[in-house]
């Protein structure tokens, strides 16, 4: 097979950090080539170089045997390279057609919207995408938006498609139709380069696999000549223990109860629909589901950051629906590890010391006569840093300069050390490396052993399966089912995540 794209000795630096180190890859024409690696392995950086968003410090790019320079995305498009980003590059307020033709050359002075709409509809039909060219993006589900992204590059006659973590936003059933789409692309002669950290997808869709770790290539192989275990080992650099210890703890009385909760999101849409759940002492209830199906709103109504439209939140039988965030924390012992570490969990410009006292800055001994006692604050921060093994130069360092895992440890220290009865954690392992994930999950399990009631919301099914006692699945603001980890097969959870309820 002819090489379509060849990367030779690509090196990219961000300051002192070597994001890519002498990367060599050969991509054959009309194949699906997977780039596999953990978060932070440099996969996205590499793709951004191919697409002209970053310039490499060293190395060459060859397209169909010719050495090329790709200074901007516009040049990449000219060369027939199309990119589908992990976070969709779609303007929410514009229609499908407007998004597809955005940036297209030769549109003339007056856009012939009708003509483009018809062409896009036809193209969508060719690949079985069923996209309405007149729909506004914000109204479309994630799977549909992804198809718009693919149409965008196909409309520009791209022959090399780069897909960055294409399945991370999709429900399991959407993934199947996405993989079918890949087959159709390959059949029509397109070359596909896709980045992922999910093994199963590579095994079912890839022709060739390149594994990356810490900015370096660790292996090139054909799908036929490998297996998932070997891939996992190459990805992580050691054998992965896929099973976590799930200790049995005697469950006590019900601590947290959510009764028929309804709530509205920022767009005025009905985001929580009659959600009911209970959590007992010493129990971890997992909430699985594709991102954006009401999980954030659920966490917010429980912690008091969002008002209920109807329904009640009860702690040990007492209605706390109208209590403030502070009351829920201090009177009802509720801890919260939010999804957005940077925006909600920490004040990035504050030092670690002040981040530790965000929740009790007005209480003795940290404040006396409304004056903050810096020594007491720093002393406690030092204790927590020690206890939670937070790696930093000084507790007076700004939280911004800590790694994601260390930031999360600071948040966990703050939310756990005040002695909560209830702990709400959302996406605690998102973007963390393996070591940090282990630390986070051990903290959660220790809290369970101490008899706390824990709500664990995550989009990563493996995380949930590892630690939870029961798993609720959310779709379109509803809990579509609650099952035990033993019952949670990929098919069954997939059905629930797609909103297909089980009939008893």
């Amino acid at each position: 097979m002819d090489s379509y794209l060849r990367l030779a000795g690509i090196t990219k630096l961000f300051g002192d950090f070597k994001a890519l180190d002498d990367v060599n890859i050969d991509v054959a024409e009309a194949t699906v080539h997977a780039i596999l690696g953990e978060n932070g392995a440099g996969k996205t950086t590499l793709m951004n170089i191919i697409y002209g968003l970053y310039q490499p410090e060293q190395g060459d790019i060859f397209l169909k045997g010719c050495k090329v320079a790709i200074p901007t995305p516009r040049d990449a498009i000219h060369m027939g390279i199309g990119m589908i980003h992990q976070h969709f590059m779609l303007v929410d307020t514009l229609t499908v057609t407007e998004n597809v033709i955005l940036g297209l050359e030769g549109l003339g002075a007056n856009i012939k919207l009708k003509e483009h709409e018809e062409k896009i509809a036809a193209l969508s039909q060719d690949f079985g995408f069923q996209v309405d060219p007149k729909a506004e993006i914000w109204k479309l589900p994630m799977g549909m938006r992804q198809r718009v992204e693919i149409l965008k590059v196909l409309y520009r006659d791209a022959s090399l498609l780069i897909l960055d973590e294409p399945t991370s936003v999709l429900a399991p059933n959407e993934i199947t139709s996405f993989l079918d789409g890949l087959d159709r692309l390959r059949a029509s002669g397109k070359t596909v380069l896709f980045i992922t950290h999910k093994l199963e997808e590579v095994m079912s869709a890839g022709d060739r696999i390149t594994v990356m770790r810490h900015g370096k290539i660790t292996a090139h192989t054909d799908v036929q000549h490998t297996n998932a275990t070997e891939m996992a080992r190459l990805m992580v650099g050691r054998d992965v223990v896929l099973d976590l210890e799930r200790p049995k703890v005697d469950q006590g009385e019900v601590v947290l109860e959510v009764a028929a909760a309804n709530a509205t999101d920022e767009r005025g849409l009905h985001a929580l629909k009659d959600v009911s759940l209970t959590i007992r002492e010493g129990e971890i209830l997992g909430i699985a589901g594709v991102d954006g199906n009401g999980q954030a709103e659920l966490a917010e109504v429980i912690t008091g950051m969002r008002a209920l439209d109807s329904g009640r939140i009860l702690v040990r039988g007492e209605d706390i629906s109208h209590k403030t965030v502070a009351q829920r924390r201090h009177q009802h012992r509720m801890g919260y590890v939010p999804e957005d570490r940077h925006g909600t969990g920490l004040v990035l410009d504050f030092p670690v010391t002040k981040n530790c006292m965000l929740r009790d800055y007005d209480q003795a001994p940290f404040a006396r006569h409304s004056v903050i006692q810096a020594a007491a604050v720093a002393e406690r921060a030092e204790q927590w840093v020690e206890k939670y093994d937070v790696r930093l130069r000084s507790v007076h360092q700004q939280a911004r300069f800590l790694s994601g895992g260390n930031q999360q440890k600071v948040i966990f220290a703050r939310e756990v050390e005040f002695g909560p009865d209830i702990l709400v954690v959302m996406q605690p392992c998102k973007g963390l490396d393996v070591g940090a994930i282990e630390a986070v999950q051990n903290t959660i399990i220790a809290q369970k052993k101490a008899g706390k009631a824990i709500l664990y919301i995550s989009t990563e099914l493996e995380d949930i399966l590892g630690v939870c006692d029961r798993i609720g699945v959310m779709c379109h603001g509803e809990i579509t089912g609650v099952i035990s980890p033993e019952e949670a097969t990929a098919e069954r959870v997939g059905m629930l995540m797609a909103g297909i309820k089980e009939t008893a």
């Binding site: 697409y51 968003l53 970053y54 901007t72 995305p73 516009r74 498009i77 990119m83 980003h85 969709f88 590059m89 779609l90 303007v91 929410d92 307020t93 514009l94 407007e98 998004n99 033709i101 955005l102 940036g103 297209l104 050359e105 549109l107 003339g108 002075a109 007056n110 856009i111 965008k152």
Partner: protein
């Protein structure tokens, strides 16, 4: 009451409304372009003033209102370049940059006016534009003379508003502007030069506000006085929000403010016993009230006020 029933009075009142609206319309519709591209244009006030100053100097030097027009566009355009360099390239807070330009314009125009026109802040009478009646249309009762017995700049405004609408919603450049204002990264990855579009949008925006200033000098008062923009740029900012960042909406909102300005003048005239300052507040009160009523209901372009950097994560 006699206002509504006497055609001459009504026509006069509508004429005042239009006259007072025009600088606001130019600035507000211009502001739409900049803000839709994601750049706050607080400097509309300074651009009106810059335009007025340029118009006066140009008319004075060249002895022709067209010379005034050219220099008005140049002065306001330079203010636009300044805002673009500060707010788009350097990523300085766009509100602060806009305020700085307003203050700079206030001092600079006053200073230069004294240098150019002599010691007095008020200049001598300058050549300007005069009404040209459009045959037929201007004979329509009541509104005919209001709308179609106007000068060149008013007719320019009639063409400009639909033209801006067409550019924003029917041309590739307008699509780029709207996309960049909401999600610049999406436009960038589609191959659009975000910074270049923002530069054009900001400079065009300021030049249009400058036309508003030129109108005041070349069509209304024929002199330049210090701070003659008198807050019209800020009213234009309110108008563009009230008009939901849409050129037609901005036009209607600017007319609304012009209407209340005309009304307060009429009330001042009719009630000399009341201190005139009470009535002078009216258009500003209306703009505050309009913004209060709209609070939470309008959605500005999502990326407004943010600096775009390609490499940033």
């Amino acid at each position: 009451m006699e206002l509504l029933f006497d055609p001459a009075q009504l026509s006069d009142f509508l004429g005042t409304t239009l006259r007072l609206s025009i600088p606001i319309i130019f600035a507000a519709v211009g502001g739409v372009i900049s803000e839709r591209s994601g750049v706050f244009n607080i400097s509309l006030e300074g651009c009106i003033l810059g335009g007025a100053f340029g118009a006066a100097v140009g008319a004075f030097l060249f002895g022709s209102p067209f010379g005034g027009l050219a220099l008005a566009l140049l002065c306001a355009g330079l203010a636009g370049v300044t805002l673009a360099v500060l707010g788009v390239s350097l990523g300085i807070n766009q509100i602060v940059a806009g305020i700085a330009i307003n203050i700079l314009m206030l001092g600079l125009t006053a200073f230069l006016a004294r240098l150019i026109f002599g010691g007095e802040a008020t200049t001598m009478t300058l050549p300007g534009f005069y009404p040209i009646a459009i045959p037929g249309l201007s004979a329509i009762p009541v509104v005919g003379s209001v709308l179609f017995n106007q000068d060149l700049l008013v007719y320019l405004m009639y063409l400009m508003v639909p033209a801006v609408w067409w550019v924003m919603y029917r041309t590739p450049w307008g699509l780029n502007v709207r996309a960049i204002g909401d999600y610049p990264r999406a436009a960038d990855t589609a191959g659009v030069n975000v910074q270049a579009v923002r530069y054009c949008a900001v400079i065009a925006s300021c030049m249009m506000a400058g036309l508003g200033g030129a109108y005041i000098v070349l069509s209304q008062v024929f002199v330049f006085t210090e701070h003659m923009s008198a807050g019209k740029g800020f009213i234009a900012l309110a108008a563009l929000i009230l008009g939901r960042w849409n050129p037609i909406g901005a036009l209607l909102a600017a007319l609304l403010f012009g209407f209340f300005d005309a009304l307060q003048l009429r009330l001042q005239f009719n009630s000399p016993e009341v201190p005139y300052q009470i009535f002078s507040m009216l258009p500003y009160l209306v703009s505050i009230l309009a913004l209060v009523l709209l609070a939470g209901k309008v959605r500005p372009p999502a990326a407004i006020g943010t600096k775009f950097e390609r490499g940033a994560k």
